[in-house]
């Protein structure tokens, strides 16, 4: 257990002080709590867990305030004693954003979970920061509205976490990312005071946007007001296939630049298409099957070994791996699988979906179909789109199946403008291919560009070697992204895992950030060691 001891108070005083604010049952130093709150879903932590180390960075204690006033009390108390504070939402972050690498107090905000108001005239919702995404959407649906924000983690992430990481949902092409939805915030600052951005001038500067994406380093988001939309009357989802990835990308761009507003527009690369189409084949519970990636590797192997002239060591090794259903074995030879994936004559699947008033949906669906067919797409039918919609969360359930084999899996969401997208895709693939099996899809499309969502999986015989490989993969992928002119963080945030990449990405502006941080959090107690490199905490 690595544990930088920066807490300046004896633990008994710390507990007594916090208990006086939130009540004795809402402060814990019990082992089960310290274990649960020592990690988020950053895969490096999962690797350590695989190796039998589930609490490498435990907090000193965990608190569960129930009101904004209690959050203020906790922050004031910790500020007085210079104790690190880690805002915690759903803990679904994948970059280590909630990991207490400097110890300190984890402040779980999920007891702040009320809907304060749904304004039916203005089409806005005001809710507390700790509300789980699915609960918020369910309550909005019951009132006839939708926020339009559907990250794959909607079941396990919070409104405050979304705002703190500039989250993007599956329907972002129409509704935008969370920063496009938010109107104002209430934030508890490092001195315990509350900033309500709705009280400020609506002119520039925009304090709301300054705080969105700050990943708990500038304050605790206790409440937010966001725009909502009338629940859609109609939906139309459809699948198309393209012979090459680049045909598909061109088609995506044309759809966006024609001024259409699909809720979903995503294109899978050949291997991810195999996985996505495999999911389409699987009736019922896709997650109960073997991991989709494994099924696709099996199909890939079958193709490789049965095509005319097939031979060679790598296909034989792969066939053996697939035959024994050993995903771990296949992931131990990533370059083999990657080579095959590149050669596979699989078509690329594109999913497009519209929602809204019936007539508008029909019109957009018809118009987009023309564009996609003109761009050499083949109409795969509405059932393909509808199956995608119905099973879109299944893939998240499959992650655990990979870990069950002792392997690890991660995702990386980068973005750039359309002109640089092919180059970005190729360079990241090339950089990662020697180390991990890699596949991708293109989603979160805009008029000017798009995000690429890479999934990579790899295997090593033990946790230490896996962790080393994990770092190698990320270093290679981040460098390749930056070299190709992409941003390394489209919607997962930065946390610990990408903070060093921020130096190159933000350049001179780092000085402005440091000045802002010094002004707003002079003691550096808010989520130290995250977002940008600082002197606290170091790396993990």
């Amino acid at each position: 257990m690595l544990r930088p001891a920066v807490t300046r108070l004896p633990q008994a005083h710390l507990i007594a002080g916090l208990a006086a604010i939130v009540g004795p049952t809402r402060v814990s130093t019990e082992l089960p709590d310290l274990v649960a709150y020592s990690a988020d879903f950053w895969p490096k932590l999962q690797i350590w867990k695989l190796g039998g180390d589930p609490e490498r960075y435990p907090p000193d204690c965990v608190v569960w305030p129930s009101t904004e006033a209690e959050v203020q009390g906790v922050v004031s108390f910790c500020a007085e004693h210079a104790i690190p504070l880690i805002p915690y939402g759903g803990g679904s972050g994948v970059c280590g954003g909630t990991v207490p690498i400097s110890g300190g107090v984890v402040v779980d905000l999920k007891r702040l979970r009320s809907i304060v108001a749904i304004d039916r005239d203005s089409h806005t919702v005001t809710a507390e920061g700790g509300i789980l995404g699915q609960h918020l959407e369910d309550r909005l649906a019951a009132a006839g509205f939708t926020l339009g924000h559907f990250p794959s983690s909607i079941m396990c992430s919070t409104l405050g976490g979304w705002l703190a990481t500039r989250s993007g949902g599956q329907f972002s092409s129409r509704y935008g990312k969370i920063e496009d939805m938010v109107l104002s915030l209430r934030v508890v600052l490092a001195d315990g005071s509350v900033l309500d951005t709705a009280d400020r001038s609506t002119g520039d500067p925009d304090w709301t946007q300054l705080l969105v994406g700050s990943e708990g380093t500038l304050g605790f988001i206790t409440q937010a007001t966001l725009r909502v939309h009338a629940a859609p009357a109609s939906r139309h989802f459809r699948g198309f296939k393209f012979h090459t990835l680049y045909d598909g990308l061109t088609a995506m761009r044309l759809v966006m630049q024609a001024g259409l507003e699909p809720v979903v527009l995503r294109l899978y690369d050949p291997f991810d298409s195999m996985v996505a189409l495999g999911k389409q084949d699987a009736p019922g519970d896709g997650a109960a099957e073997a991991h989709g990636m494994r099924g696709a590797i099996e199909r890939l192997s079958h193709w490789a070994t049965t095509r005319p002239g097939a031979a060679g060591g790598f296909t034989r090794r792969l066939r053996r791996a697939a035959r024994t259903k050993a995903i771990a074995a296949a992931l131990s030879v990533p370059s083999v699988v990657n080579k095959l994936a590149q050669a596979v004559p699989s078509q690329c699947l594109l999913i497009i979906g519209f929602e809204g008033p019936d007539e508008a949906v029909q019109r957009s669906a018809w118009r987009s179909r023309q564009i996609l067919l003109d761009a050499d797409g083949t109409d795969a039918g509405s059932h393909v789109g509808e199956t995608w919609l119905a099973k879109r969360h299944a893939v998240s359930f499959k992650q655990a199946r990979i870990y069950q084999t002792g392997s690890f899996v991660d995702t990386m969401e980068v973005a750039t403008t359309w002109d640089r997208l092919p180059q970005l895709y190729e360079s990241v693939r090339r950089a990662v291919s020697p180390h991990a099996f890699i596949m991708a899809h293109f989603s979160h499309a805009y008029r000017e560009g798009c995000s690429i969502y890479f999934t990579f999986a790899a295997h090593r015989s033990n946790a230490e070697r896996s962790a080393g490989l994990y770092d190698t993969i990320w270093d290679a992928a981040l460098l390749a992204t930056q070299a190709a002119g992409g941003t390394t963080s489209h919607h997962h945030g930065v946390g610990i895992s990408k903070k060093h990449a921020m130096v190159a990405e933000h350049g001179e502006m780092l000085r402005a950030w440091r000045a802002l941080k010094d002004a707003m959090d002079p003691q550096g107690i808010l989520n130290p060691g995250k977002l940008f490199p600082d002197n606290a905490g170091g790396g993990a």
Binding site: P32, D33, M155, D285, A287, Q404
Partner: protein, 363 residues
């Protein structure tokens, strides 16, 4: 080998799952605490199984923060049996001498508060063909329900349902839920013997229904009798009965065991439709998505504040839906809901409502 070893694969699955059923868990919702999500609890069991975390009393205590409501199983694409995992982990804790809650707290052999056989109709038979098993909740918490059930049978010309000595026995569900497996097995054997040759056993409690139909066979104590929930028993009796329909805004709360463990939604609603002026009001969370009120899984004993907060959540949903009265077919739900509702809402077992509607001269 520990009881946990055979669960290794299942434990790993939750441990490396990004908590995708978090939203469904009522305990996690009211506590706001990741430790008690299905992910948190099963991960803890995983760490105990792999030896990364030592099973101390404190750790064992945490294993009891689950009502066994199966909302997570419903939400999980793998269909993980989190209830089964946690109840097994409690049994492992008990076997290893980690007993944060004493056995006596789960043994319910108190005398009934309402000695219905002394005051009610003479439906006490040494060896009945159709045996009523009220379960400890109705014997102790809402004792008049037994008397009302027997009275209903009188009015509906049902001749066979009767109580026997076995009716005073608790089925032992809480012992099972708390991990006292040996004691549960003894209780199951005693109850099976006491049931004797009854052809049909009618139970009033939904968790007792689950215990008799699902858990008893697991400990080789399956009853030979057909086991029916009282709602199934009453529905055919009500057809053609003269009822004076009960008015008011009445909502229905699905108990976890009826709705999720057995998938029973329609029979209770059909019964209520027959005795209410207006169809029962549906709560925002209902049927397979019902919100557990904390009445089961021995949560009321092991984490009473959490159970109370869960009841409060259901009461809020009922008030939001405009209910003046809330009914349920599971006596285990009634006590907590009633305590949470206070003056804001009347809470009854559905038997009370049906009894009002089928009121004879005595009503």
């Amino acid at each position: 080998m520990s009881r946990l070893s055979p669960l290794h694969d299942a434990l790993t699955l939750c441990t490396f799952c990004p908590s995708l059923c978090h939203h469904a868990c009522p305990v996690a919702a009211v506590e706001g605490r990741d430790t008690v999500t299905p992910w948190g609890l099963v991960s803890l069991v995983h760490h105990i199984e792999t030896g990364s975390v030592r099973l101390t009393d404190d750790v064992a205590h945490t294993l009891y923060r689950c009502s066994g409501c199966r909302a997570c199983t419903e939400a999980c694409l793998h269909g993980q049996d989190v209830e089964g995992i946690l109840f097994t982990a409690r049994a492992e804790a008990v076997a290893r001498g980690r007993r944060p809650h004493a056995r006596e707290r789960f043994q319910h052999d108190q005398a009934p508060r309402d000695p219905w056989w002394e005051t009610g109709p003479a439906r006490f038979h040494p060896d009945p063909t159709v045996l009523l098993l009220p379960g400890h909740r109705d014997l102790v918490s809402d004792a008049t329900a037994v008397r009302k059930t027997l009275r209903l049978c009188e009015r509906l010309d049902e001749a066979e349902l009767a109580c026997a000595d076995a009716s005073l026995l608790d089925v032992g569900y809480d012992l099972w839920a708390a991990g006292y497996r040996d004691e549960f097995a003894l209780r199951a054997e005693r109850l099976r013997q006491a049931v004797g040759d009854a052809a049909v056993v009618v139970v009033m409690s939904a968790e007792a229904l689950y215990a008799l139909k699902v858990i008893y066979p697991q400990v080789n104590q399956a009853l030979a009798a057909q086991v029916l929930h009282v709602s199934d028993f009453l529905l055919p009796l009500l057809s053609g009965a003269v009822v004076s329909r009960v008015g008011g805004a009445v909502g229905y709360h699905d108990s976890c065991h009826l709705a999720r463990h057995f998938g029973v939604f329609d029979v209770p609603r059909e019964l209520l439709r027959r005795v209410l002026e207006r169809p029962p009001i549906e709560l925002r969370q209902r049927e397979a998505d019902t919100f557990c009120c904390g009445g089961t899984g021995c949560l009321g004993i092991t984490a009473p504040q959490t159970a109370a907060a869960m009841s409060e959540e259901v009461v809020q949903m009922a008030l939001e839906a405009g209910c003046e009265r809330l009914v349920t077919f599971a006596p285990e739900c009634v006590g907590g809901l009633r305590a949470a509702a206070g003056e804001r809402l009347r809470v009854d077992g559905a038997i009370t409502l049906i009894d009002e509607a089928v009121a004879g001269d005595e009503a």
